[in-house]
Amino acid sequence: MKDTTTIASEKEILPHDKPAKKWSVKAAFNKFGPLFGLIGLSSILAILSPSFLQIDNLTNIARQSSINALLALGMLLPILTAGIDLSVGSILAVSIVMAGLVSVTWGMPPLIGLIVCLAVGAIAGLINGLLLTKLRLPHPFISTLGTMNVFRGLALILTGASPIFGFSYLMNYTGQESIGLIPVSFLLVIIVYVIFHIFLNRTSTGRYIYAIGGNKEAARLSGIPVDRVLITVYTLSGFMAALGGLVLIGRTNSASPIAGLTYELDAIAAVIIGGASFLGGVGTVWGTLIGVLIIAVLRNGLNLLGTTSDLQTVVIGAVIVLAVYVDVLRRKKSGK
């Protein structure tokens, strides 16, 4: 007996039949669906406001979208696992406040401040992950609703509720500077998105994230270390919130304990507008980016048009519903 335990023989490794042409068109349509929404929206705004397409304004949009881009990318992971992270806004606050304490109040080197910022975010996310998996809490909605309060309270207590300002160049760099015309924060966004794309599609952990969202029990029985993956997911979500916080430091040259209030809602909206499903297992990095841009373009455009914030609220609410509805139609057309 040959001690090969595989039953795959050479002949089985046939070239894969190219899937029928229409499938790939569908796939493309599915992938780029929200993009059409973004293009449509931008066209309307370009007509309504002459400033909209100016280079200056495009860099505005890039800059204004970057914090949400980072938070939404983090949020994509829990949502892919059929979870959610409501605490990202509070994690952002506690991370930047700690960075401020370390690098401004206690006068430590800026690099340490930067590391502390990201580490605090990751640790806060880790706590979310541990609560969920080790306490076997039924749903992250509730654990992150809890930590949303806890982290916010901590940020307030740590600072005695006062914002910290006067950050050094290094700490402000990401949020403040541009390389040529492109804001550093947006470059960061692009880099992180590419990394996450590779992570989600080309690594085991990435694929496991989709598997867990699809069927947690089947994932466990397929040998997927479910708890470890979930802990990774929430840790990364916390880390991304802190990265968003780093940009916020630069944009405001300050760290306020009340920063990031309700940021979770924008992040969730972006992920869902970008085509991800609350039921888990469905969603992409690029869809999320488009979701982020749709929201950012909308806010920017409404500002340019001088709309009141009340009307902006209405329009953004309507666009959230509309974007998801268009997605529903598209999926239906391309065959459930």
Binding site: I7, I13, A211, A219, L221, P225, G335
Partner: protein, 494 residues
């Protein structure tokens, strides 16, 4: 003529799966739908009941055109359905499930529920099916068999004239299946009509009146059961005859593959010991709840065990999670594909590769071209239809979904394969493919264990049969000495 289906067609995203189907069902008969996996049986049923909408064609019911746009229409017309996948609400009680959608009220449509009456009625209905169940028990606390009976009670409570059953026995133990068949026979005598789908041909022989055979979404023929042999059924179904339903190849017994020593699921239970070898197929038989699934789940690390040592090819392993088991080279094909096997919204290729992603990596990353290369492995051999590795699992027929799960585990190249009811819901032709594949596995040196509740299957393919009773191994029979009687004897505790 109670029900007439005329020229029904249906396509999903441009792929036509039903072509002008016709079906006549006489009052009081058990009408069987027969066809390979993916032939379109479930699709017809779902169209009849309003779960899907048809593209074309008509349904006549009791001499009139019946327009079904939602499940309620069919139910109100007197058609009750037990789908391939159970449709009960685990959080509700037996009584509530039975009367779900047609509750008894204390007066008009708008009054409060008459729980007393429903409790009484559901008790009576279950007793009519030979079950004494507390009507207030939650469905989630019942076994699959009893759940299936609750579904039937639900159909009866609707005073349905036609009950449709889509593979009702596939997830039942032998005794539960038997109970079901007896019930159908009795109800048929009471004048109820059935449409019955099953891949267990013996069952069809026993309770069916006429068979309508489908192939690739089209009618083949309608024949009376009396004058049709099982072999003829197979020929009609697959388009050719199957000379051997159990293609058994004899290999030499090799090295020890899996050895289980002193396995205890909980500290008080008696210990389990057995060894499976290369070159043999080890079958495990037993009655409902004999503890076979529980035992292998413990071996695989899916559930915690109290104690016990497991050796893989002589090497001791410490298995605490399924992950450990897979690393040690064990594959476990579970009995419940939907809950425990499949990622329904992911593609075939995703499902297939997920348990062993290292095989499709290059330079540490999953590579598209590596995936392309292995895409068709097993898909052809298992005749997974349609042969589209990008189709999401949900859109495969039940039997083909089962094959996807098998493909997933084959892909792990494990050294020990444990199959729990592997041919559940698989058509006769495909079963042979699965057996052939298992033979191939054995030939390549894999150690194979199969749990099956179908005696002919276990007798047909196993080299050695362990019999379990109440969590203990009560029999160890070689192929030559095994027969229905001595298995039965061991299964009931000797």
């Amino acid at each position: 003529m109670l029900l007439q289906v005329k020229d029904i067609s249906k396509s999903f995203s441009g792929v036509q799966v039903l072509h002008d189907i016709n079906l006549d069902v006489e009052e009081g008969e058990v009408h069987v739908l027969l066809g390979e996996n993916g032939a379109g049986k479930s699709t017809i049923i779902k169209i009849l009941t309003g779960a899907y909408t048809k593209d074309k064609g008509e349904v006549w019911w009791d001499g009139k055109v019946l327009n079904v746009t939602r499940p309620k229409d069919a139910i109100e017309a007197g058609i009750a359905t037990i789908y391939q996948e159970l449709n009960l609400i685990p959080e509700l009680s037996v009584m509530e499930n039975i009367f779900l959608g047609h509750e008894k009220k204390r007066g008009s449509k708008y009054s409060l529920l008459d729980r007393k009456q429903m409790r009484k009625d559901s008790k009576a209905l279950m007793e009519r099916l030979g079950q004494r169940v507390d009507p207030d028990e939650l469905i989630g606390n019942l076994g699959v068999g009893q759940q299936q009976l609750v579904e039937i009670a639900k159909a009866l409570s609707l005073n349905a004239r036609l009950i449709i059953m889509d593979e009702p026995t596939s997830s039942l133990s032998a005794s539960e299946a038997e109970q079901l068949l007896l019930t159908i026979e009795r109800l048929r005598k009471e004048g109820i009509t059935f449409i019955y789908i099953s891949h267990r041909l013996e069952e069809i022989k026993r309770i069916g009146d006429r068979i309508t055979v489908l192939r690739d979404g089209a009618n083949v023929q309608t024949v009376p059961v009396d004058t049709t042999s099982i072999d003829q059924m197979i020929t009609l179904m697959v388009g050719r005859s199957l000379d051997n339903k159990f293609p058994k190849i004899k290999f030499d017994k090799g090295k020890e593959g899996l050895r289980v020593e002193n396995l205890k699921l909980d500290p008080e239970s008696e210990s389990i010991n057995f060894t499976a070898y290369q070159g043999e197929i080890l079958g495990i038989s037993g009655l409902v709840g004999a503890g076979r699934t529980e035992m292998v789940r413990a071996i695989f690390g899916a559930d915690p065990k109290a104690s016990g040592n497991i050796y893989i090819f002589g090497e001791e392993t410490n298995i605490r999670h399924p992950q450990d088991a897979i690393d040690a080279g064990i594959a476990f094909i579970t009995e419940d594909r939907k809950e425990e096997g499949l990622f329904l919204d992911q593609s075939l290729i995703f499902n297939k590769t997920i348990a062993k992603l290292n095989r499709v990596k290059s330079k540490g990353l999953i590579s598209v071209s590596a995936q392309q290369k292995v895409a068709d492995n097993y898909v052809k051999e298992l005749k997974i239809r349609p042969n589209n590795v990008n189709l999401i699992a949900r859109n495969f027929s039940g039997g083909n979904q089962q094959k996807v799960v098998i493909a997933k585990w084959l892909f792990t190249e494990a050294k020990v394969f444990i199959f729990d009811e592997p041919t559940r819901g698989i058509d006769v032709g495909a079963k042979v493919e699965v057996y052939n594949l298992i033979n191939k596995l054995v030939e390549s040196g894999v150690c194979v264990i199969i749990i099956s509740s179908e005696l002919p299957e276990i007798l047909g393919i196993a080299d050695r049969i362990l019999v379990m009773h109440e969590g203990k191994i009560t029999g160890d029979l070689m192929r030559e000495e095994a027969n229905q009687e001595n298995i039965m004897k061991a299964a009931t505790g000797g």
